[in-house]
Every structure is written in structure tokens, then in C-alpha cells.
């Protein structure tokens, strides 16, 4: 992905920069924080995703001639501000939760320290990436936990917009999915891709047998045959007839799955295809996957539910100014006054308190006024620090970028899941599995 990301921005960010450059406040050093006031719809934990993509977008957040010309023509900002934008690149610091980390209400997911103008401009791009990707990862993690070790593939590209699909494949992979149908996600993020044939391939041919034969000739008997275009029993029979008992897998995309899966397993075994796997892909979500735990399913494919966050398509994160320097250079904690919305001013740091069994018990958020006065704590066996330095003086730590960063996030998520109390994995609605405490 290339091209400028500078206009993935709400207009008010540039008008604020414009007005603040005029009165000089634009240069006040500021701390912005991204956090979620609550978890998506009754979930017990959330999973952070989008960070790696965000760091790459921030690097491409530059106003080139085309962007500047459009802003000038449309009089979005004054000419002097255009000069400032032409020089803009992010030169500040970013700390935050590692991608793949679990999060809870109030977890300080990202802290951005830079001049007001530099940092305020990133609001939309920060929230677009964290909100969407974390929504997908948070839903995907629940599906992974109820799949009980059976592999899951993400195949929902068609149910979200064409580039959101790439981000969704990546977020699901971080949350523990094993593969994606999306080729661009394979190319950009190094995620294994999968898929063999749709019903259209069977319907294209004069008979189901012709279609199976064409597929087995092209890919060998280890391929996956889709057996529910006409009659499933006949489909299974034909599949084994054409590919032989070494047939790799059959895919079932419709019907009452627990019943159908059991019948297909029995039929495959009776035909000697005892190693032929069964993959199911029919409008699955965490609840239907849980309902298949006793069925002889070997792998799952999930579409709509994962790419739309299974009922919570946006994670509800916000981006707030929490501290800034005054004219004397002193840090001042700030927050909107509101009876409805929790906002805690000041710089944050965070740790997860673990008990002697290494089980998470509390999300601790340390609050201070600014970088100097705040947010220091002594990590020990009980306190696992949650924030890492993602960007220093505008330069992102390469460990968090690209395919390597994506794999690292997936591995981190696997470790973190081990730490959560067992009640985290209940599917029913409830409270966050550990409380958040401000210190």
C-alpha cells in the first residue's frame, strides 16, 4: 500500500491546526490518549489490533502537492498553514499497548506526545485503525477460544469494504485465526491464504462429477471438495469416488450443521476416507462454533461475523487531549467535564497485576500530570508492564511493522490469553473479567 494518508482525516483537525497556528497554541507540547470507555457489547476482554498498520499510515501521513493543491482550492486552511502542512511529518513519540494485548475499559492503548498540531491531526487515522481492527480481533479471539484448537480461516472479504477486508484478515490472524481467503492480505502481511472452489465451479460443469474431476486433476486428491451443491450424500459419494479415499477434505456450506457433519463423517469413514477432513463455512459465529464443539468438524471458515466484529463493528475507542504544557512550560492535566462520559486527564501508564498462578487480577492505570511527574511504577513479579515505546522522535520501532510485526502480535496474543482468568472465555454477556483501577 502506498500513497499519502494525509486526507484520511476529518476536516476539523486541519481547521483546529489552522486556528491554533494563528494564535500560537499549536506549538504547545501535548499528550493525546486513545482508550475505550467500555468493551464491545458485554464482552469480558478486548484484543488490541491495528497498531502496526497505524504506524505505517503515520509514516505515510505527508501532504504532497496533490493534497496541498486540493486544500488550497477548497480553502480548507489559510495559505500560511499550507506551508506548515507541506513540512509536516510526525516527529513525536508514541507509547502504547503491544498489538495483540488484551485490553479493558480505560486501558491507555496509545499515548501520543508531540506539539498539539502534530498530534491532533492523527485523530482520525488513529481511531479508524484501532477501532475497526480491534473490533475484528476482539470478536475473532472469542471464536478462536471456542474452536478448541481446531483451525479457523477468515473468509469475510465480501462482507466488508474491499480494503477493510485486508485489515480484517490481519486482525483475525493476530487474534489466532490460521489463514485468510484474501490474497492481498497474504501479499501485504504474510498471512497464509486458502480456498479451492465455490458452488459456481460445480454449476459451470455439466455434472458434479465433471467438476470434481476437473478440480482433482488440477490440484490432486488432497484438495477440498465442496459437496453441497446438489445432494450432500451423493456429493460425498462422488467426491470419494473421484478423488479416492485419500481425499484431503470436504467443505459443507449449508444445512443443519451438527446433524449434517455427523452424517458426513460416518459416510466418509464407511467409504474408507477416514483421514478426509471436514471443514464447515456456513454463516458461523462464536455461538454456532461453540454449538459444533461435539461435532466431528476439523476446521472452520468464518465470514460475516468476524469482519463485522460479531455485532460490534466499532470498538468505541476515543482520542482525547489529556495533558499539555502551559506558557510557563508546566504540564497541565486536562479533561472535558461531563456527567455522562468518563475522561481522566493526565499521562497514563499501565500494568496488569498477576497473582501467584500468573492469572490476571487487575488492570492498573497510573495517572500523573505529564511525562515528568507521572506514571512511573516499579515493575515486579506481580506487575506486568503493558506499554511499549512504539515511535521515538517520529521513527517507528521496526519490530512492530510489516509481516514480522504481525506474527509477533499473534504470538503475544497467544501468551496473553493464557494469563486471563477462565471466566474471560464465557460467551454470555457480562462485566470485564478484571477491574480497572486508577492510581
Amino acid at each position: 500500500m502506498t500513497g499519502s494518508a494525509a486526507l484520511f482525516t476529518d476536516r476539523y483537525e486541519l481547521t483546529m491546526v489552522d486556528a491554533a497556528l494563528r494564535d500560537g497554541a499549536a506549538h504547545r507540547e501535548s499528550l493525546f490518549e486513545a482508550f475505550a470507555r467500555r468493551l464491545p457489547d458485554g464482552r469480558r476482554y478486548g484484543v488490541v489490533a491495528g497498531t502496526g498498520r497505524l504506524l505505517e499510515l503515520i509514516d505515510r501521513f505527508r501532504f504532497e502537492d496533490a493534497e496541498l493543491e486540493w486544500l488550497r482550492e477548497n480553502q480548507v486552511v489559510r495559505p500560511e498553514t499550507l506551508d506548515w502542512l507541506a513540512d509536516y511529518r510526525f516527529r513525536g513519540d508514541i507509547w502504547g499497548y503491544r498489538e495483540g494485548e488484551a485490553y479493558f475499559p480505560g486501558s491507555p492503548l496509545l499515548t501520543i506526545q508531540a506539539s498539539f498540531a502534530e498530534a491532533v491531526m492523527l485523530e482520525t487515522v488513529v481511531l479508524s485503525t484501532l477501532n475497526y481492527d480491534s473490533s475484528v480481533a476482539s470478536a475473532a479471539a472469542r471464536m478462536v477460544s471456542v474452536a478448541l484448537g481446531r483451525p479457523i480461516a477468515e473468509m469475510g472479504s465480501r462482507r466488508t469494504s474491499e480494503r477493510a477486508a485486508i485489515a480484517a484478515a490481519r486482525a483475525a490472524f493476530i487474534a489466532g485465526f490460521d489463514a485468510t481467503s484474501n490474497l492481498e492480505a497474504g501479499r501485504t502481511w504474510g498471512i497464509p491464504t486458502m480456498g479451492t472452489a465455490a458452488h459456481a465451479f460445480t454449476l459451470l460443469h455439466d455434472s458434479e462429477e465433471d467438476a470434481f474431476r476437473a478440480q482433482v486433476e488440477a490440484f490432486g486428491p488432497k484438495t477440498t471438495l465442496l459437496i453441497d451443491t446438489y445432494d450432500i450424500t451423493r456429493g460425498v459419494e462422488l467426491a470419494v469416488e473421484v478423488a479416492g479415499p485419500e481425499l484431503g477434505a470436504v467443505r459443507i456450506d449449508s444445512g443443519d450443521l451438527p446433524t449434517v457433519v455427523a452424517a458426513v463423517r460416518e459416510q466418509l469413514d464407511s467409504l474408507g476416507a477416514v483421514n478426509t477432513r471436514i471443514t464447515v463455512t456456513s454463516d458461523l459465529d462464536e455461538f454456532t462454533i461453540a454449538g459444533l464443539s461435539a461435532a466431528p468438524v476439523d476446521s472452520y471458515g468464518v465470514g460475516t461475523a468476524v469482519v463485522t466484529g460479531s455485532g460490534s463493528p466499532a470498538a468505541g475507542m476515543v482520542y482525547k487531549l489529556v495533558a499539555r504544557r502551559d506558557d510557563a512550560g508546566e504540564w497541565v492535566a486536562v479533561a472535558k467535564a461531563s456527567t455522562h462520559k468518563i475522561s481522566v486527564g493526565g499521562r497514563k501508564n499501565a500494568a496488569r497485576r498477576l497473582d501467584s498462578t500468573r492469572t490476571a487480577r487487575e488492570e492498573l492505570v497510573f495517572v500523573g500530570d505529564g511525562p515528568e511527574g507521572a506514571a512511573e511504577f516499579e515493575p515486579d513479579d506481580e506487575l506486568r508492564p503493558l506499554m511499549v515505546h512504539l515511535v521515538s522522535d517520529g521513527v517507528a520501532d521496526p519490530a512492530f511493522l510489516g509481516a514480522e510485526g504481525t506474527r509477533a502480535a499473534r504470538a503475544h496474543r497467544a501468551e496473553v490469553m493464557q494469563e486471563l482468568p477462565i471466566e474471560a472465555f464465557r460467551l454470555g454477556r457480562g462485566e470485564p473479567v478484571i477491574p480497572t483501577t486508577y492510581r
Copy 2:
């Protein structure tokens, strides 16, 4: 937007092409159809969006060296198939509903006629654009109808992934929204952009008064001041003090809106700011907008609810092979056999039957075997034809592209809305407002 769109594709589309090229079936002339089996969650009608974006993506659906190299390295298809892909561009025909058209279950939204290989490859990109954009447009249209003529701006970029945000702004505009906060949507699609300041701008300054003064100095008294950072009553007082009674507007982003809005209107009037408008932006959806119909609101800003399809983030459209030629060159209608999912084979055409008051009464879908045998009907005063020729021999009709196509879609939607029975605009769940009849 530039760059190849060829990998916005599920892997199985390429494996099907690979296998079908090997056995020759790839060259069979085929008809694929995109349609929705049902409307999103109890809605009375849907609004088609995404078509113009899709046509531009199809034009960019080319396998360049980078894509071919990645497919080769990952052995997605055979080397012979890579040669075919290198030459690929869509050379077929596409008919479909105009963007902005209302649709119902079974409406044949898009018909693609080309060789199997040419047409099957477009499945993911067709569905990604139509599903997401139509989901947003269908939700947005309901918000527009309950806004009773008051302007609505889309400002949900932060609640969906960064490029989905651009598509969402466009879909909402087609559905009757008046503006967007998203700058890239302004640049790419010619949509008016809006926005002045966030709470961060107030918190950056030493006082609310300083912030208001900075904004009024930058943009004049006709600007919109955000008055709920601290105390709303004091905010309104200060806003009029700083900008004078010619203050353009105040924005309210929190609180119990019907009560707050009434109080703010009274206060503004008492301060002589009788022409100062009130805009509200606090987590609105079609239901809260309807709840404000009696309040003195002048305009709305909607975020999360519109970009996530207000509870239905994917419109549920599918892309199915409905007919193809056999070896003798005869068209054969095809459909998956299923007790659960309605699929009607054959080429479709469609018209909306209007009564003498020009009110829609029925969605008529004409079914035939193929282009020759099918889908002809005599349009008359009662039957408004719904399908237009979008792409001829691979060339898109420019009337449907770019900013001009987007404006045309918006205008078409406005006309179509006039035609729907009044019950279409009830917010409660219910059946589609007109029945779909197959002929």
C-alpha cells in the same frame, strides 16, 4: 485512488480459474448475478450504493508484474494461468440497478455476462463494494427521512477502517446526507466537507474564552462553536459574547439532547442570537434523530451508526452463477439446490410496477434462460425499468463514474424515494414495503 485491485480477491476465485482453464470450461460464456436474499434486519427497503466505485475498481483489476510475481512465488496457480492473468482485463457486459435505486429481496442488482473465468474473478470486489456501501446507504436513507429536511453530515470516519470511511461518506451522500467530515471523500468524490473544532481545541487553551476567541479570529463569527466542554449554559453565554449575536452555530455533543437543545435555543434567543443555528452530534442514529423531531435542532452530525449500517454492517448480497452456455452453445439456467437459501437460475430483468399515483406496488423480476430467451418486457406507464447497461464490452458508461456519477446517484435516489409507499418510512421492523414477484 490508484494501484491494482486484482488481489482484492478470495483465493478460490483464482484456483477455480486455474482448474477451469485446464479443462476448458473457463471459456463458457456465463451470467453471474448479485442480489440480496433479504433486506437488512427488518428494513422496508434498501438503497443500492457502491456501483460507481465498483466500476472504477473493475477498470483497475489488472495483474501487474508485482501481483503475478507474488502469485508465482506462492504457487497459487499454474504458470500457464499466470499468462492468462497477465492478459486479463474485463471485456464483458454488466447491467444493473442504477446507484441510488431502491431494492428489495431478489432484486437483480447486477448481472455480469462474460466468460466464466472473466466473471468469476470479480466476485469478491463486486460483493465488497455493494455489501458495504449499500449497508451504509440503506441506513443513511432512514436517517435522512426522519430528519425531515434538516441537513445531516456524515462524521463517522473514526468508527470504520480508514478507506471504508471514504466509501461510507460517499454512500451516505448518495442516500441524501449533505456533507462529510472526511477530506479524502471530498477530494475523490466531490462531496462537501465540514467541521470546525473538537473538545481538544478548547482544552488546549487556558480558557474556553481563549479558545472561542482563537476560533472566531481565524474563521469569523459565522463559525460553529462547540459549547459543551465545561458548562453548557456558560458555554453559550461565552460563545455569543465572543462572536456576537451573528454567531453562525453552536454544536452540542453530549447530554439529554431534547432538553438541552430546547434550553440552548431559549438562551440563544434571549441573547439576541436568533439566527444562530444548533447542530447536534452525540451518538445519533435514526431513532434518536426521530426523537428530536420536535426539538429546535437545525442540523445533525452522525458518526458510528451510519458507517456501520446501524446494526446491519453488511447488506447480505451474494454473487451467483445463474446461467451458462453448454458445449452446443445453448444457455442453461443453473442454481444450487438448497432448502434454506433461495436461488433462482436464469437471466433476470426487473421493473417496478407503479399505480396511477406513481406509487410503487410491486418489484417484478422477469426470469429467462439466457440473453436471447429471457427477460424482455414492454415498459409502459405502469412498469418502470430498473436495469441499465453499466459496462459494454469492458467499457464503463462514464455517466456512472466519479463525482458526476455520485451526484447523479444522489439525485436518482431522491426521485425514487418519492415513489415509495409511505409505510416504507416507518422505523419499526417489518416486511419489505412491496413484494417481489418472479415472472
